[in-house]
């Protein structure tokens, strides 16, 4: 008896009647405006809280301010293998965040076309951390904002593919009840992005 694999592939080969060419790719034009402004506009439109900082020294105050604004205790989770960041007077936790905790992560890429953050998974940047917390605060360097997903794909492939590549745009949401948008389905209820200019 033939294996399922052979049966399926043989059926495809036996029945095929035509061949087509690989099309040339159509990529929409990059936003005309400054990529940082385009990124911020798109991310804000999908409920991300975007703040633009002049240098990394402003991060601790911005994080503390975000936590206060949400009435979250003054503690922040950073992955064990991630480089530590100065979080000022906040309590630093290195354990995986729970569904009401706040986590601080770093995004290697931002995408101007859609206001999307892109994360190749690594020990420093564990994939589940973009889904576990209640509030994810992301540091993104302005110079890491690229035009589109294709640029991210090319750069990630050049470095070697990870086990997971996550694209994140705004906080978790659902429209499953009466087609009406509610935030915070399973992933973060809120997402803040600190774009660092320097």
């Amino acid at each position: 008896m033939m294996s399922a694999r052979e049966d399926i592939l043989n059926a495809i080969r036996a029945q095929r009647v035509r061949s087509t060419e690989r099309p040339k790719s159509y990529i929409p034009p990059a936003p005309a405006a400054d990529p940082v402004a385009a990124f911020a506009e798109h991310a804000t439109a999908v409920n991300a809280d975007v703040r633009i900082l002049n240098d990394a020294g402003e991060i601790p105050a911005a994080v503390a301010d975000l936590l206060r604004g949400k009435n979250i205790p003054a503690e922040i989770h950073i992955a064990l293998d991630a480089p530590t960041m100065d979080v000022g007077p906040l309590a630093l936790k290195r354990t995986p965040p729970g569904p009401d905790d706040a986590a601080l992560t770093t995004a290697p890429f931002g995408i101007a076309e859609t206001g999307t953050l892109a994360y190749p998974a690594s020990a420093q940047n564990p994939a589940s951390w973009h889904f576990r917390p209640g509030f994810e605060i992301v540091v993104l360097k302005a110079s890491d904002i690229v035009a589109n997903m294709e640029t991210v794909i090319a750069r990630v492939k050049a470095k070697g593919l990870p086990h997971t590549l996550n694209f994140v745009t705004g906080p978790s949401r659902t429209g499953d009840i009466e087609q009406t948008l509610e935030l915070g389905a399973h992933g973060p209820k809120a997402l803040a992005i600190l774009i660092v200019r320097e």
Partner: protein, 466 residues
Amino acid sequence: MNQSPRDFPAASKAALADESLKTALGRLKTHFGANRALAIERFGGDWEALREQGRATRDFALTHLDTLLEQFERAVTARGGHVHWARDAKEAREVVLGILKDAGAKTVTKGKSMVSEEIALNPFLEANGMIPVETDLGEYIIQLRKEPPSHIIAPAFHLHKEQVAQTFRAAHTTLDAARNLDERQALVSEARQLLRAQFEAADAGITGANFLTAEEGAAIIVTNEGNGDLTRLLPKTHIVLTGIEKVCADLNDAAVLLRLLTRSATGQDISSYVSVMLGPSDGDGPKNFHVVLVDNGRSRLIGGEAEEVLRCIRCSACLNHCPIYGAVGGHAYGATYPGPIGAALNPGMLGVANAAHLANASTFCGRCAEVCPVKIPLPAIMRHWRAREHASGLAPKSFVAGLGLWAFFAKRPALYRTATGIAARVLKVIGRKGHIAALPLPRGWFAVRDLPAPQGRTFHEMWKAR
């Protein structure tokens, strides 16, 4: 609930009388339809050029399906994952069960997968001692209610929030009975809290895939809730269950299809999460990674007149813009895939005798083909299934008799002109008030509308007299 496409006539009649369903269906236009139109208006590029690119990308994949699937398999295997093949639903269920047993799994969280619905995986897993837990909010709700999905991307589309609250009260008996579930946010929070515990406890996770890419060996899921990712990342074993037609050449092709998918589906420029899943992980993430490629009637469609239906990226735009789906909803179709795509796909997958009748659930207005992001000629494919149904002698007797009668006259022009001339004059007399409210034969047609009365002469006569 309709269990078979053959029951469509009775099931659609019942659906038309369902007032609560009518309210839900009203949201197709005001939510899905309106949001899609806005997203296309906002799109910074040429939407038609993008659709053409999507069509050509999918056609390339379908005409190279064998080599792309082999390439996909090599890439997954090279990174330590496993690829399994299943000819039909039964084989697919057994393959999944086998993987779960080998992994020593019992509790299984699930991301949304239409293939899982198609192969009726949950009842099979339960019968074999496993505990499958749907985690997409809509799927979770209908799993608790023991209902099938009524829409491809919004499974609980047919329900209102009071019904969801009632379902949660009945299922979540450990929670305070007096809690307030009036608001949608309260329902979302309750599901979030309860399902998080399930994610943490699960032995394995099963997701579908929106796309597979041959070059990288990636499975891609497109979600808004984040449940698919917690399903993949928290348990030790991750199984991707998907159809063989989902493969495309590489991640760049997937990026093109993604731009079409989310705008056509929910009217989002991109969904909250797009997750490219490439293999097992040695740290945070699954230790075991399996992909189950399901045929289940798909390869049969290659090379045939309905081949283009395999281009489908399951966005649901055709459902959201269909006057028939908009009137009867998804359950009336009695098959996993409702709406125009269901009418075009199910006869191919389930057989002409079982599902070709669904191709009659269309006015051929053509809206489905206009909104399809990959340009599937849905009315033409439905017409093909209607012809097959007719040729197999499966069409309803009254329909065949009526068509035969019409053909008898149409083949005899002189007789046709005489007969239509008489009919037009008789109908003018019957419809003295300018309209006809009832005639003895097509009673169902007259139940909901009037026919404008002919003015006494036929089109042929008027044309000649010009």
